[in-house]
């Protein structure tokens, strides 16, 4: 910088003495230098877009390019997972540290393909579309860090969403091989379909040491409260089907059962209910005449009558979500999307994100044993409550169920809230749909529990130059016993405020007294109101027809016995 400055300052002095061809030569040379400088500057201050486009092209790669890792048979297997794990015993909080944003840093392991000694992969599906989507969402988020040494939470790229596609032992070995595994400390696994036949465990069977589990389908016996996160089972229909949000209100059917994998005992009970209550209940099953595949997943039948799924869900007030072999059902997600109130029958099931979501406002939970009483129970719910639950159900889907990104972000936010509890999202933030957030009053200043006493008040007097009136106000207000402080704001740049007891005469004051009657003044104020309301997006002012007066105000009662005799006497 210094060098170039020196030469350019000397340049003009040189040029007149030089011949034309030299001059051209120098001008060219300077132009080159200048261009170079500009280009460099651009490169310095605009490097991100250049880098990222480069990355984009590089990153368009195949999962088959991921390095292949062979797992020796003798590799260690993690322990099964400790049921007594809690954040203060199994989680290393030092890795998260204190930071002003109160946000955890999440690292994602690069993709590797694990195979056993025979070259057989540990998973039949490998990286699934959904897990890939989840990891992309995390890496796009504010939580992500590419710096493994700064990470608080580690997310393996080994896909364990569906236990059915996994080889348990080998997957466990692969986990243990992760460079930062360290007994699973601060590692987070996502699993939506745990267990396998015949008894379908309610948590992932892969041994995982102390790793946290974000699991779909936890029961109260496998869920480690305050440690694991209960997540929904993602419904693939979420991405393919768009269901418009419907206004809450009564629907054509009262109860709808749309699941195909219902145990025959429960199906028999549902059929009994259908017999008793007739049309109010719609009991759907698989269509027997349709071929298997995607098409069949989108159809449901009742006695030869074919219905579109999930659209039919929107035609019912309540939708049954009954446990299958597993407690967590993807149907729950479809039902919420349709704005149908889920009736959940799955004993001991830990509802998705129950740590933060108030399911009582969005669903009805009925013990499996009480399935025969379902109709009676649901009938006793007031209509207004059904409408509120319909709205709440749809909101839960929009915010927390609609995509793998939503599920992933909610999970990380819940863990984040545990680590920085003083900065945690509030109940209202989690549970109030946007329309309620707008309308409701939640400021700490307006909590209903008003402290019994007040420390008095501070009078703030705004003044321009009406000194006489100012002094009158000051004299009057200083008589008030609860006045704690008096503050005069002198709003006049041209005059300095009066000093001491000196009184000013103000001849123009009487003229200004008629201010509020001035037409232009009223027009201006109306304009203000319109402007403010448009900025607020709503009119926050409320109209009341009452005024507070002292109890004996203007009553026929001796004035000297009244606490506030002078009110209204001005």
């Amino acid at each position: 910088m210094c060098a170039s400055g020196k030469y350019s300052s000397r340049g003009p002095a040189l040029i007149p003495r030089m011949k034309t061809k030299h001059r051209i030569y120098y001008i060219t040379l300077f132009s080159v230098v200048l261009l170079g400088l500009i280009a460099t500057g651009m490169f310095q201050f605009w490097p991100h877009s250049i880098e990222s486009t480069a990355d984009w092209s590089l990153d368009r790669r195949s999962v088959h390019d991921a390095p292949l890792i062979q797992l020796p048979v003798s590799n260690p297997i993690p322990e099964r997972g400790d049921l007594s794990c809690r954040m203060h015993t199994c989680f290393d909080v030092y890795r998260c540290g204190y930071n002003p944003k109160n946000r955890i840093k999440v690292y994602i392991y690069p993709l590797q393909r694990f195979v056993d000694e025979g070259g057989v992969p540990i998973s039949s599906t490998g990286l699934s579309r959904e897990y890939n989507g989840l990891l992309s969402a995390i890496s796009d988020s504010e939580f992500y860090t590419d710096d493994v040494t700064r990470a608080c939470l580690f997310v393996p790229s080994i896909d364990v969403l569906n236990q059915n596609s996994l080889r348990i032992r080998e997957t466990a070995q692969a986990l243990a091989m992760l460079p930062r595994w360290d007994k699973g400390m601060n590692h987070l696994l996502f699993n939506m379909l745990p267990g396998g036949p015949p008894d379908y465990n309610t948590a992932l069977d892969v041994p995982r040491d102390r790793a946290l589990l974000a699991g779909g389908g936890f029961s109260t016996w496998t869920y480690r409260q305050g440690y694991d996160v209960s997540i929904p089972v993602y419904s693939p229909l979420s991405a393919d089907v768009e269901l418009p949000e419907r206004q809450p209100g009564p629907r054509h059917y009262f109860i709808l059962s749309s699941q195909t994998a219902i145990h025959r005992e429960y199906r028999a009970e549902l059929e009994r209910l259908k017999e008793e209550n007739g049309e109010a209940l719609l009991l759907l099953d698989k269509c027997s005449n349709l071929s298997q595949g995607v098409a069949s997943a989108r159809k449901r039948c009742y006695k030869g009558q074919v219905f579109d799924y999930p659209q039919i869900l929107q035609e019912s007030s309540f939708c049954v979500v009954l446990r299958g072999a597993r407690l967590g059902q993807a149907t729950l997600s479809d039902v919420l999307q349709a704005g149908c109130v889920p009736v959940i029958l799955a004993d001991s099931y830990i509802l998705p994100f129950s740590e933060v979501l108030d399911w009582k406002r969005a669903s009805v939970v009925i013990p499996e044993e009480k399935l025969p009483e379902m109709y009676t129970i649901l009938k006793s719910i007031p209509h207004r409550q059904v409408e509120e639950m319909q709205r709440q159900a749809r909101w839960f889907w929009d915010a927390y169920f609609s995509s793998m990104k939503a599920i992933g972000m909610t999970t990380l936010q819940i863990i984040n809230d545990r680590i920085y509890p003083y900065a945690a999202r509030t109940y209202e933030q989690w549970n109030n749909p946007p329309v309620v957030k707008w309308l409701s009053v939640n400021s700490p200043l307006f909590l209903p529990l008003i402290p019994p006493r007040s420390p008095g008040f501070t009078a703030v007097v705004l003044t321009y130059d009406r000194i006489e009136s100012l002094f009158r106000v000051i004299t009057e207000i200083s008589k008030v016993p609860s006045l704690a402080k008096l503050l005069v704001v002198w709003n006049n740049q041209n005059k300095s405020p009066p000093e001491g007891e000196k009184k000013f005469k103000c001849p123009e004051c009487t003229a200004i007294d008629g201010l509020s009657l001035d037409q232009t003044h009223m027009v201006e104020r109306s304009e203000c109101i319109n402007k403010f309301a448009s900025v607020f997006g709503t009119m926050p002012l409320k109209v009341v027809e009452h005024r507070a007066d002292p109890v004996l105000y203007k009553d026929d009662f001796p004035e000297k016995l009244k606490s506030f005799p002078n009110i209204g006497s001005l």
Partner: protein
């Protein structure tokens, strides 16, 4: 030429230098800056997780062979039975260790074992038992009971304690209703003893639920046990002191930021955290004081810091610090919980918890993040910066929530016990249980009964939170006690003027007169439906029954001899819409403390303040009918019925106990005040000379049941905006109120 060449070379060299400098030199620090950016400005390189171009499989196949396979497996019913037999002891849950069939639908009854002679019971446990026996849950019939409570004192299971009950094991096993603890609830404050303080109760609790203080997450069985706060012997049985927060100060900071004063354990369990506190103590706004001076032989174990710490400790007064600090540290002691927790809560000093693994009191229903800072013992050194980082708004909210929680669930033993029972009731009656919002916002779970409605919008308390409004009409309920003999009776005039109100949805006449119902045509024709209900027992309390015919949120309660104009009704209703959780009425009364007689006094004199409005003409939310009928004990309602008096006082007590606010008096026509007292009808109870004395007695009886005086005085009356202003009467909407 030579010069030119020289300049040329110089210039070229200079250019090269500049270029080099730019392309080489700056490049190095620039990559360093990138790294810097990443960590500090939140910059992250886009797409570190690659975009895979190949098609990936779905994790869930469309048609899983779930169905067929599932169907051949054991029936779900059998599976449930298996769970019940497998998950016992430490893995007990409601599903496996609780017999729901013992709790008949909608009825949650609690049985208390009769006390056996010769059994010593501590005062605290005696309090617990008498509270349960006085509650609406109590039953003397074990056959009706859903929950059983032992009369054997299990509060103190520290074997070194004088309160310790010996041979509990055999005593419990000998109870013939014990049934291995099924559906039993065991209260416990202390367990284990020096030196390891295990959480063992010293007897086999079987399948019983624990309501235990200082319980750790390790032994706590979620949704089965209940974590209760540790309370002292002196903790008031009912009522209890209010929170200490007298007013909000803005900014909300107090003299100290964070304080603690307590014992330091030099060795053994739970000593680490308190031993490290001195690192954070700064003698200014973070004052953490410990003393080694406790126990018999503290001198033996004392360390180098003890003398200095003890000296510092004596310089400060605990009370003074408690009341003048924004945050109060609550570190674990030998056990996880401490008295300090409740003390800080009451003092509106936001508790900063340092007690890893403590399942906080009533954690099942209370969202403690709204009233406390949950710290981590491992991060003690970060605590000062953490509390300093908390925004003023948040401090204000935290502080007020401490006061709400204290008064809602902790200020008396009664509240603690009833909260415990209500939590269990919510689990049993699933469909009629409270949402998190009901537990965590004013007026709290003890006053918000889920049996009333599953819908939050049906309660008067959540309109603001949910951003909704009450239904814009009211139902008038007229209490009729005199037979209908003439067409000029006040009740008929009242019917007509109330029916004319634009906000009136319907009128209910409650016929509490011994004479038979008058014929239908005797009632005047009105534009709104008039429903006549014949009172079953003809008792006073029946005017506050939650009749199903009341479909509006607002109820206008009326005596038959009340004189009201349509304008007055309209105005009172518009006022009520702004204050839907309060009583809005016309004639007001007041209470006072009579220091000579040491009892509460009642006055109907015109004074500058009031604390009650008469329910002979008042508007309130219909939820209070439900609460009056289902929340108040039979003893108080019985007293009202027997005297045929005081029902309005009781309603005022109830509403003020819920809202912690006074009722609202609206303005009324002059003539009304005189006639209100019923001079027009001779049969009126107001004419009875005993009437006034009875009301005095009622007040004192009610105050003792509520555990204090819930009434609050007000000096405010709400008038229509232009009331008695010097403007044309034609400009006034409620002009009739001013006309005589």
């Amino acid at each position: 030429m030579q010069a030119k060449k020289r300049y040329l070379i110089l210039l070229s060299a200079g250019t090269c230098l500049v270029l080099l400098f730019y392309f080489g030199g700056v490049q190095l620090p620039s990559s360093g800056r990138n790294r810097h950016d990443r960590s500090h400005n939140g910059y992250r390189p886009d797409q570190p997780w690659p975009h895979f171009s190949d098609p990936l499989q779905q994790f869930l196949l469309w048609d899983q062979p779930d169905t067929e396979e599932y169907n051949i497996h054991i029936s779900p019913r059998q599976k449930r039975d298996v769970n019940t037999s497998v998950y016992k002891g430490k893995r007990c849950r409601m599903d496996s260790c609780f017999d729901f069939s013992a709790c008949k639908r909608n009825d949650f009854k609690v049985y208390v074992y009769p006390q056996q002679k010769g059994e010593k019971i501590s005062e605290s446990y005696q309090n617990i038992l008498s509270i349960v026996e006085g509650s609406r849950f109590y039953t003397t019939d074990p056959g009706q009971a859903c929950l059983f409570i032992l009369s054997l004192d299990t509060l103190d299971r520290d074997s070194l304690s004088p309160q310790y009950v010996h041979n509990l094991k055999t005593k419990v096993q000998n109870l013939h209703l014990w049934n291995n603890g099924r559906n039993h609830l065991i209260f416990n404050l202390y367990s284990g003893t020096w030196p390891d303080y295990t959480e063992d109760l010293g007897f086999d609790i079987g399948q019983a639920m624990l309501a235990k203080a200082s319980i750790s997450t390790e032994i706590f069985r979620p949704n089965f046990d209940v974590s209760i706060p540790l309370f002292s012997k002196e903790h008031p049985r009912t009522g209890g002191d209010r929170g200490y927060l007298k007013y909000n100060s803005i900014p909300p900071f107090r003299k100290y930021m964070l304080v603690f004063k307590g014992k330091r354990y030099l060795t053994g369990i739970g000593s680490d955290t308190r031993n490290a506190l001195y690192h954070v103590h700064n003698q200014e706004d973070v004052v953490l004081l410990t003393t080694c001076k406790h126990g018999k032989d503290w001198q033996k174990h004392k360390d180098a810091r003890c003398e200095k710490d003890n000296a510092e400790y004596d310089k400060y007064d605990y009370r003074e610090m408690l009341h003048n600090s924004t945050f109060c540290l609550v570190p674990r002691g030998r056990r996880l919980g401490s008295f300090r927790f409740l003390e800080a809560l009451q003092a509106a000093c936001v508790p900063v918890m340092l007690s890893n693994g403590w399942e906080l009191p009533f954690s099942e229903i209370i969202n403690w993040n709204t009233a406390a800072v949950i710290g981590d013992e491992r991060l003690l050194l970060q605590i000062p910066s953490t509390v300093r980082s908390i925004h003023q708004d948040k401090i204000l909210a935290l502080r007020q929530q401490t006061q709400f929680l204290w008064e809602a669930y902790f200020s008396s033993v009664e509240k603690i016990v009833l909260t415990t029972l209500e939590i269990i009731q919510d689990r049993v009656l699933q469909q009629e249980s409270r949402s998190t919002l009901m537990w965590n916002s004013h007026p709290g779970g003890l006053f918000a009964l889920p049996q009333y409605s599953a819908h939050l919008g049906d309660f008067p308390f959540y309109y603001a939170t949910l951003g909704i409004k009450p239904y814009p009409k009211f139902t008038a309920v007229i209490h009729a006690v005199t037979p209908l003999v003439s067409q000029s009776q006040p009740i008929l005039k009242l019917l007509v003027s109330v029916a004319k109100s634009q906000y009136c949805a319907q009128i209910i006449v409650l016929w509490n007169c011994d004479k038979p119902l008058p014929a239908k045509h005797r009632w005047p024709a009105t534009s709104v439906p008039v429903i006549v209900i014949e009172g079953e027992n003809k008792v006073m309390s029946s005017r506050f029954l939650p009749y199903e015919t009341i479909v509006t949120d607002a109820v206008l309660s009326l005596d038959e001899d009340t004189v009201l104009s349509t304008t007055e009704v309209d105005f009172a209703f518009t006022v009520w819409q702004s204050f839907p959780e309060r009583l809005v009425g016309y004639p007001a009364r007041s209470h006072f403390w009579d220091s000579n007689k040491e009892r509460w006094g009642y006055t109907s004199k015109w004074t500058n303040d009031y604390s009650m409005v008469l329910t002979g003409a008042a508007i309130y939310h219909r939820y209070y009918h439900f609460l009056y009928t289902n929340f108040l004990p039979a003893s108080l309602k019985g007293m009202v019925d027997q005297l045929a008096n005081c029902e309005d006082i009781l309603m005022n007590f109830l509403v003020s106990a819920v809202t912690k606010l006074p009722p609202i008096k609206v303005t009324q026509k002059k003539q009304y005040k005189e006639t209100m007292m019923g001079q027009s009808s001779r049969a009126s109870r107001w004419a009875d000379p005993d009437h006034f004395a009875q009301r005095q007695t009622c007040m004192n009886k009610f105050a003792s049941w509520f555990g204090g005086m819930p009434l609050v005085h007000s000096q405010m009356r709400l008038d229509p905006v232009l009331f008695k202003d010097q403007v044309s009467i034609l400009r006034k909407k409620y002009r009739d109120i001013e006309r005589l």
